[in-house]
Structures are given as structure tokens and as C-alpha cells.
Amino acid sequence: MLIAREVTREYRSGDHQIAVLKGVSFEIPQGGFVAIVGPSGSGKTTLLGLLAGLDTPTHGKVILDGHDLTAMNENQRAKLRGEKVGFVFQSFQLIPTLTARENVQVPLELQGVEGAAARADELLQRVGLGERGHHFPMQLSGGEQQRVAIARAFANAPRILFADEPTGNLDANTGVRVFDLLESLNREQGSTIVLVTHDGVLAQRAARTIRLADGAVVSDTEAAA
């Protein structure tokens, strides 16, 4: 369960405040698949950052799996992210100095989980990169890098997965395949997915679409089953 209550985010620019998000509220039940869409500058990425606890709202509350993110400090949120949250980014965000397997291991190791390497291999197998574990990110194609990132996102069996334009840097075909993978892993693990995109086709695959414009929710629609 992810709850946003009257979430506002303001930035100071010079001597006046600019509100990027203006009182956004919604609830996403466990296991849901929600797309947040909107034009460039509508506040999508800012909202994602707030929902995932990467940033704190100026006003309002974000409650993730029962924990009020706004009442926690950064280190507490980091801990919570490590336990319950997975990320997939547009630019993959793999650590360049680690191999594919080591990248997948990171969240497990940060949690102090034993047998991280074996679990990482298992996940790489699952995303079809069982043979590529010893390669560094720069030795992998964009699609492969994103699959490593997906394996990493599911390493700690997250309660909720945030994906920021996950296919934005990939060609159309690769994008579709990567997204299929994301969806199937989600079904297996029963996680909640929050997808930020401006790709209309991708958004249509979500069960629910929240549309933002100018920092506010303009529509919140359930897809017809």
C-alpha cells in the first residue's frame, strides 16, 4: 500500500518559491500496477522521488507500506528502501566499477543477506543473462544493462518497484521485451509497480493511469479489464 496525501513540493528559485507539485493525493493498493503520465515538466519525476523516499515533500505525507516517509530521516529511509523498494531507471544506473553479478548483489549485501552471489546468479538467469554475470556494464548493450538493473531491482523482493522511463533509452523492440520481463517478474513476486513514463503505449499496459499536468493530478483512471 502506497499513500500520497496532499503532497506538495516547492523549490526556491532566487527569492520566490516555485511549486512543482501542488497537493497530490492518491492511494495505490498492494500488487497494483500504476502508470504516472504527463508532459515534460508536469512533476512526474519529482513525484516518483517523493514516493520512493528519495526526497521529502514540502507539505503533505507519503506512507509506504505503513511507514510515514516524511517522519523518517534520510538514513532511516535508506534502510527502508533497501528492504522494501526496487528501482529501474531510464539511464540504468548500474555501478560502472562492479560486474553485472556484483551490481545485483549490492542490495542484498547492504541488507546483510548471506548467499548474495548465488541469489544474484539466479536472478541473472531469470532475466536471461546467466552467462554474462562477470561482464562490466560498459561491456553490455543498453537492453542487457536494463535487464541487469531489473534483476537488481528484484533482488531484495521489493514490496514496491519504481520505474522511471525504463524503456526511454532503448529502441522500441528492446523496450517491449524489457517491459515484458518487468511485468512477469512483478506477477511472480506480487510487488506494486509505479511506472513513470510519457510513452502512451507503455502506459496503456498499466491497470491504472494517473495523469499529471502542471503539478496536479488531472485524471486517475482504471483501465478496462
Binding site: L48, K79, F87
Partner: protein
Amino acid sequence: MTGSAPEFQQRASLRQLAGLTWRESRSARRRLLLYMSAISLGVAALVAIDSFAANVTRSIREQSRALLGGDISFTSRRPFSPEQQALLDSVKQQYNAEFSRIVTFPSMALIQRSGGTRLVQVRAVSPNYPLYGIITTEPADRLVALQTGPNVLVDPSLLVSLSARVGDTLSLGLARFVIAGVLKDVPGSPGVAEIIGPRVMIPERYLPETQLLVFGSTAEYDMLARIPSGADPQKIVISLRPQLERTQLRAVSATRSEENTTEAIQELSEFIGIVGLVALLLGGVGVASGVRAFVSRKIDTVAILRCLGASSGQVLAMYVAQAAAMGLIGAVAGAALGVLVQFGLPSVFGDFLPVDVKVTLEPRAIITGILVGGWIALIFSLRPLLALRNVSPLQTLRRDADSEILRMRWNDIPRVLVNVALVASVVAITVFRSSEVQQGLWISAATLGVLGILTLSAMFLSWVARRTLRQRWPYVVRQGVANLYRPANQTQSVILSLGFGAFLITTLYLVQSNLLNRFEISAAGSDANLVFFDIQDDQLPGVDSLVRSRGRVLQTAPVVTMRIAAINDRRSEDIITEERLRRAADSLVRARGGAAADSVEKAADARRRGGAGQPSGRPSWALRREYRSTYRDTVTSGEKVVEGKWFGASALNSNSDTGEVSLDSDVAGELNVKIGDIITWNVQGVEIPTRLTSLREVTWARFEPNFFAVFSPSSMRNAPKQHVILASVEGNPVVSALQRDIVLRYPNVSSVDLSLIRETIERIVTKVSTAVRFMALFSLAMGIPVLFSAVAATRRDRIREGVLLKTLGASRGQIMRILLAEYALLGLLGSLTGMVLAIGGGWALTHFVFEAEFTPALVPAFLIAGAMLALTIAIGLLAGRDVFRETPMSALREA
């Protein structure tokens, strides 16, 4: 359950974190190690000098008795008097001591076959010499043969300079000897002494035959004692103190002489060590800017790690561990280099040292070097590393500029703590390395002050650049100047490392050149090249006319030996005793562990070495020493009356009971006497009172006979005396012939060819300046990685921007000119600030520490500044070259 923090379960184990740290460091290790190498040279310097000093100290300790020649050495400037002999006999009885005798004096040696002459140091030794240590000869075991007849053993240099060989006949005075062999290794003889006067060792029993030791001859009579029982020689010396003083006999124990020698070595190594330490701090500055570069490369990784649940503490721990490990490796590499250097040092300094230095590994020096270096690397890295705590996971979604992300509040508590720890470490390490706390504090204050001034001048440069930039300037210049103040500029890090490097090198150079200036012989105005001394009264006319037949006599001076008997009616013994009591009382008050007697000794020693002592109280050395004085009616060109008046007509003509005396102003200071005081001199048994009427400043470096005390002629005319003649004789063959003729006719008259001494001094000066230049060069070598690190800190920004400009159509020339403008300005300000600070630092060191006059050597200083400027520009343009190596895509994608 909303609103509460989650219950934390077990987090990453240390092992897991360490594994992650190790893997994550993969690509950074080399780079980080490069930054850390900035400290390696500093550590190398510390380890080398500390190890070497420890080697020397240990060697001296092991060889101290051999160095002195006995457990105790009793010395007199005259043949032992009956009272002195009685005292020695009592020592012999009481401690069951064994004595060995040596008489040392200068004389001319003549090789009969070749006709060559040379001033030598004669050592007449008793059969049981040496009591300790081994003298090796060539052919072997000639020491035994020495005593079997009229034989001599000589230093190899004598054979070379007089084209003699073993078996030749050598004349000393009226006696003839056979050269039985060559002295290969004699304990306690630094090579330099040998160059000034080669040693000639003769059996004691042939000494009278030479007839060289006449009344007033310069000679030293040593009685070396071996104390077989376990008694501490130093305690014996202390217990004998009153009798020694009464009989005017000097005594030194092996322990004491060891301490004196060791202290000199310690002082030298302390100076070099401080240079090494400052170099290490410069390395620290380099590490800081290198790590800053490292940190900005790690922003993305840190943001990802934070996203994935790493706490800021974990992230910081990871990178601190990486930096510490690399710092430690840098320090260990430096220590290894230092050990290599240590093995080379004896060949550089061997000539200056009284012992054969046994080079062994000194674990203490090595460990200290590694710890100090590692700590400096760590504490200087911590400052930039702390910024990584601020990296928000949000950076994975939306990347800000590096400088924005890494900005820290000035009052950020960990940052303040690190700053305090940094300053405290610098002060603690400096104080720990200095012999005196105050000195350490001064050095650290100066170092921090220099860093502060450089930071300010960097800020000033940014400010001026912002203020003066004009739109009408050519684009490339505008861009270059704007680089000095725009966000993420490198003005501060470059000015700091460059300026500090320039400061260090220039200070070293200036101090060196000013110190060596003192030794430079003011040959101008004096063309003297030959000195004859020990000329007896009746020999003077003969020697004088012989010299005049070959060249010019520049100066003739009578020499009278004397001691101070009383000052203003207070006997000098009383003054000494009183002084001793006062000091003993002082040290008893401060005594730690009841070492009062020792403290008295040490205080006296410190004074003897000319340490900055308290002006009040008369040091016993100046009171006890033997003065070789002269009398004359004029002031020579090498001296200047600074207080009082030179002898007036009355002093020159009258025959009043109280004559007049003029003292060297330093000695007067040590004696604590002032114009008008009455000093009574003991001139070989006769007491002569004189009034102090003037103080002179004497240029001792000139090759002229100079004197602490000069008397009005009337007061000393009848005293027993010898004479010195300073002459100018042209042409080497003429000089040698004259020396030979004088020796043949007046065997007791010695002569010195000043050109030989000049050469010797020049050789020593060259050696010393080579050593100092080596250190300066070493600091320069150290400056290069530091400067590289400073530039590396913003290299990525530079390249990214250059590539962008290139993409937008900038030519290679334009980009190079932008970089040239920026680095030329940085280099100019950095090196000039460093130079100005160095002139201040050089003055302070020369003035306060070495107490010498300071003249800034501006030309070399500017040359050094120019070299630093060129180096900066070269490094800057190297970064520019990388701009053209990168493809636009790779650089832009990285951004």
C-alpha cells in the same frame, strides 16, 4: 504504525561491506594510489633521515669509547703540570685505571727524497695506544712495527700530495723517520679533518728528538684512561670536577662525548626532518585535491548506493576505507623508497661523520614514517570525502552539478571536527618532531599561516578576475579569466598546491644560499695565500726576510696565549663556581629524577655550543678557554669598532699599569662585560690587568689572523709571544720552495697554503649545497604529483566543457588559448605569492634560527617562480590535450 521508523534488522556485516568496498574500488585504485603518491616522497624523506640518524647514533654509541680513545680523556694545552700529574696518578690508583698518552700538534713534514712539504697533524702515541678500537694499516699490522724504531704511519693523502711512498724518509723538525705504512682506518676521525692536515703518527719516545715543542707551541696533551671496573666514567668526571678546574685540566667521558656528537647529528636530522615533514604536508594538500577529484567521480555511484539502501555512514565508511588503504600503500611505498635512500646516505655524508655508519633497518623510523604518512593521507582525504555524505539518492533521477552536490555548510559539525583534527594533527606531528615545543608550534603556525595566506590570495584572484573581466576582451581570454571564478573553479586548489610548493623550494634555496654565503671567503681585498705561524721571537727577522725575498709580507702579528684571571676583581674560578651553584640550584628546582649534576653539565654544554642562552650569567667556557691574543695600534680592514673607542694616544704611549683591551663583541656578550670593566689576564703566570675600551665586530670568514682580544701594544710588549706572518707569494713552485726552505731552516715554524684550505672549504660547501639542492629538487619532484592532483580535481569539468566547445566549433588553438590564459594567471599568482612568502620565511629562518644576515637572492627566486609557472602551464595544457583525445559522444554521455 504510520509515522514510526521501521524496526531495523541486522544490516550488512563488516565482511560484506568490506567485500563491496574492495570490488567497488576496482577502477579507482590506480587513480587513488596516484593521488596518494603525493605523500610517498615526504614519507621517504622522513624514513630515510630518521633511519640514518638512528644508524649514526647507534654507530656512535657502539664506537664511543673507540672514538674518544678511552673511557675518559684528560686534556691539557700544555705539558701536564705536577699538580695535574698528581691528579692523574690519584685517578690511576683509585680506579685502577690504565693510561695511554697522545700529544697532538701541527707541524711541517718534509719528504727527503721528493723535497715536498706539507702541514700535518702529528700524533705522538704511547706504546699501548689505542686502548679501545682497532687501527688498521696498509701493509697490515704496522701499528706494532711503529713502536720498534723511528717509524711513522701516515694518512694516504700525505703520500699523494708529497709524491712519497712507504719506505721514504720523512722529517719532522730535527728528527727523521721511516714511513712504515699507511693509516687506513682510525676510529674517531672524520675524513674532512684529514684533508685539512693529514695525520702522521709517531712513537712517543721520539718526540723530544724533533725539538718541535718549544715554549708556547700549539699542542694538545691527551691522557686517555681505561677504567676496568664497572664505574661510570661520567660520574668519575663529575666527582673530579673541582680538582680538574683547579688544575685547569679538561676531562670528557665517552658517554658525554657520545652525547655531544649525537646531539649534533640529531640537530641536523631534525632540520632535514622538518623539511621532509613540510614536504609531507604539501603532499597532504595534494592528497586533498586529488581526493576531491575522486569524490566528484563517485557521485553517481554513491547516489545509486543510497537508492539501494546504503546509509550515509556506510557510504562514507566505504570510501574512507578505500582512501585509508591507498594512503597506507602510498606511505609504505614511500617508506620503501626511504629505506633505499637511507642505504645511499653514508656515501653522501660519510666524510662529515666521525664513525663508520653501519646501515641497518630501523623498524621504529619505518613504522613512524608509515603511520605519520598514512595518517596525513587519511586526515587530508577526510575533508573532501565528507562531502559524499551529502549526495542525495535523488541524483539518480535528476543530476545537479558536482559542485552543487558536494557543497558543505561551513558549520557542518563533522566538517568542523575534521578541520580541527587536521590542524591538531599538523601541530602534534610538528611538535613531536621538533626538539622544542615552541619551535614546533612556530613551524606549524608558519605552515598553517602560509596555507591561510595562499587561500586568501586565491580568493583575491577570483575576486579580481570577476571585477576586471571586460566584454571587449577577446573571447578566449574572457573564457580563461572567467574560469577563475565560475562555479567549480580550481583557483583555490591550484594556488594552494603551487604556492606551497614554490614557497617550500624557494625557502630552502634562500636559506641555503644565505648560510653558504657565510662561508664564502671574501677573497677580494686580500691576496694572502700563505700563513706562517709558531714563529719564535728570535726567528722573526729571519723568516720575515726569507718570505720577502720570494713575495710580499701582508701582515705580521704577535700572538700571546693567556687566560682570564679575573673580571672586575672577581676571580674567574669564583665566578664559575658561583655560576655552577646557581645553575645547580635552578636545576634542582626543576630536577626530574635527581639528575641535577647532569643538568649542570648539559647546561654548560648547551652554552659551549653557542646555543641561544640566557644573556645573564657568565658561561664558564668563555671564562675558562685559552685566548690567543695579539697587540697592535691599528684596526684591520676585517674588523670594525662597534662600541667604545679604539686605543687613544694615551694608551699607545703611556706605560700605565692598566693597559687597554678590545674584545670581539660576541665574546664580550658571553663574558657579560661592558666598556670600562677591568679584565685581568693570566699571561703564562703573570697577571696583567686591562680596561675594556672597545668592542669589535670581526669578519671571521676572512683568511686573516683574527683575534678575540686585541691589546694596546704597551700592555703586552714584554709578554712571551710567537708570531704569525701572512704573506702573498705567487706561483705554486715558489710557494712550495719557500715552505721547504723555511722548514729546513726553522723546523718548528709551520706554514699553511691557504689555497689548499680554500679548496677544502669549497669542496665542503659544494657538498653541503649539493645536499640542499638535492632536497630542493626533491621538493620540486614532490610538487609535480601535487600539482597534477590539483588540476585533476576539475579535469573532468574541463574536458567536458572543452569537448562541448569543440562540438560547438571551437578550434584546437582556441581551446588551448583559453587554457593558457587560465593556467598562466593561476601559475603567475601562485608562484609569486609562494616566492614572496618564501622571502619572508627565509628571512625568519636565517634571522631567528641560524642568526645570520639575510639577503634575498632574487634572481634564483624568480627563476624558481618561472619554473613553477612553466610547470603549471604545461600541466594545464596536458589536460587540454585530453580534450582532443575524447570523442564528443563519450564525454557528453558521461555528463
